[in-house]
Amino acid sequence: MNLKSIRIKHNIQLQLLLISEGILFIYKMFFYSDTSFLLKMLNEIIVFSTVLFMVLYANDIFSEKKFTPLSLVMNLGILCAVIFLAVLFSDSLLPVLFGKISDTLKNPDFFFKIISFLYVLFFAAIVSQLFLILKELHFLKQKRSSSIYFTTMVWFFILASITSVLKFFPELSYIKNTFFIISIILIIFNSIKISWIAFITKKEKLSLLLLSVIICALFFVNLFGSSHENSHYQIFSGFSTSLGEFYIIIMIYGAAYFAVLFFTTLFHIPTAEAFDRKAQEVSSLQYFSKLITQVLDFNELTETITEIALKVSNADAAWIVWKYERIFKPIAHKNIGYIDAELINDYIFRNKSFTEAHSSFIQSLERFEKRSQLNELYSTVIIAPIKTHNEIRGYLAVTKKGDFIFDDEDKSAIDTFSDYASVAIENSRLLEESIEKERLEKELDVAREIQRKILPSKDPVYEKLSVSSVFIPAFEVGGDYYDFFEIDEDLPTGQEGKFGFVIADVSGKGISAAFIMAEIKGIFESLSKTIESPREILIKANQILKRSLDRKNFVSAAYGLIDFKREVISIARAGHCPLLLVREGKVDNIRPQGMGLGLNYGDQFQLFLEEIELDLHENDMIVLYTDGITEAKNIDMEDFGETKFEKILLDNSEKSADEISNEVIKEITQFSKHITQHDDITLVILKWKQKLKIVSLGETPGLDGMEIKNGRIQHLS
């Protein structure tokens, strides 16, 4: 039903009410004290319909609002008090105005008619209100909104009221009496079921106890005050017998209801606290689930935890003691000052006898020597651990003031709660961790991207030299760098230039390593254009790096230069792994002296740095690598090692540079299977004037045939 139609209905009800009131008024003006039975009945019918419309109209307004039980009771009490005062007032005032009411009723003047009309209307309104409130109370917290018992009772009210007209025929009074008695039985029956008591708090129950006594007494006073002698009742029953009867029945109902209410409340008082707590536990369960799913920020979470802890335990104050490194610090304190929390903390956690408690406990502050320094006189504290993965992360502390102490029930409530809190905190930690992890992964993506762009995209091709390079990045960028420089590339054809190469490993990992790498590339790229000597280049590079490198960062590097015309290679090494020279079935370490870049910016670096020059022989192979190869691990955490590396180089030395590097990588992959690669792997193989044997074509025709097709034919010069 929409609002508009309700409003129309309202209006109709109001109109009906006003019309019936008007009719009643007119009727009363003419036949106030007529004694004929027919007119009496007519009078009762008009009064009845007026009261009915009154009730219906008020009921409509009433049912739109939701009332708490206590506010209903309070309203009821006020109405009762109004009746009480009005009766008191009218009893003394009306006789003064109109003399003996019973006489006046027989021959009322106009003034009396008006006054009594308004007077009765006023009371009729109050009584119908009383009835409605009692009905509302009856159905409060009931599962159904109508009950056969209540409806029956109301019908008997009406019957008892209407049949009271029959008092003019004393022989028929048994009819009215029967209805009246049945009404009273139904009143008692309906009053017994008061189900809303259980749902109010202990505090409310206590005030209800007092209220119910007062209201019950008021009903009784109002009931017995309506004796046949007093003017209030005389006006009332003189106006309408059934209304007077209805008034009495409602008073009885009220008195009975509140008498029962008083005793019910009384019996509920002892269990009120336990009930309160259970109710709180149920509602805190909702908080728990909220806690676990919704609150993810750590600070917000701890605030929420202490807030709920207060509600769960009936405590006066709560806070969390969080473990920072090895010190416990109070955070998220509620209703307690930082200083107080800190003092109590000191007492409990920095006590010598304190060992990390894995279950909750109650700590009395009776013997706390600094208790008088506290702003509030706290008496006991419950300490419950907050654990993640069986590790104590902190404690939840709740405390009570004054003479109140905690019992085991409180402790177990807090215990349960701290378990929930632990889960919530763990959740938020995991989330934070995964966000952090994602951030790191993004960062590593950037680092890998930098590295990929820095490293040469393809190997250079020379007539006398074949170059093959392999780079396999580690998940965390390892800081490997290698590069090739074609020097004097603008020489006229026929004249041979020089070829520079560098291999380096930046200390550290990730984005910081990638940045240093980018810088190193810039340095070598520009230096290789102006300086030829590998030693000079490394000295210069070291000087440049002084400006930008952190103390703890350094770079190992090796720089070499091949002179195609003179057929020599010159090499300088700054802390890098030795270069390998494979010649005539032997592997030699080329290890000129030199310390890493960025370790020393003084003369020492320069003094210590050597440069060696080697003649290049046919089929010579120079191997550059980073420690990612020799330190590749197998499942037993053993290193791949130099020996194995050198053996592979020797065994395959007849093959092409690409084939050899493939072979090395294959072996390392085999060796390190099931193991995450922890460092970048870089391998550069340089082969001098290699003459590939045609025979090998016959041995592995498929493979070699393909190699030749791929442009490797130039090696067969």
Binding site: D505, S507, G508, K509, K552, F554, M595, G596, N600, F608
Partner: protein, 121 residues
Amino acid sequence: MAEFNTSVKDQGDVSLLYLNGYLDAHTASVLENNFSDLIAKDKFKIVVNFKDLVYISSAGLGVFMAFIEKIRENNGDIKLTSMSDKVYNIFDLLGFPLLYEIYKSEDEAVKKFEEINKLEK
């Protein structure tokens, strides 16, 4: 995951720092904290024992570089002892023997500090 831990012992005015396990980019912060603690306590004569160190990465080496200047400014030193061949090789490749005194045994290193003490008196 590879583990790394350290322990510190005082011998006279020399602090002995024992390394154990794998020292890499992930565990370097443990060693950094050790050095920071020692410096905070004005202990600048430090002997690092590598007897139980299985592996050291470039990030691990960087830790020594990070603190050596500060320590030497305060008339102290970091002396390295009891390295396995493998670990020594890593130090050697980078030229660390030029920058640090590396001894076969802890006693030699401690004695070296004591000699300097005597000279100063």
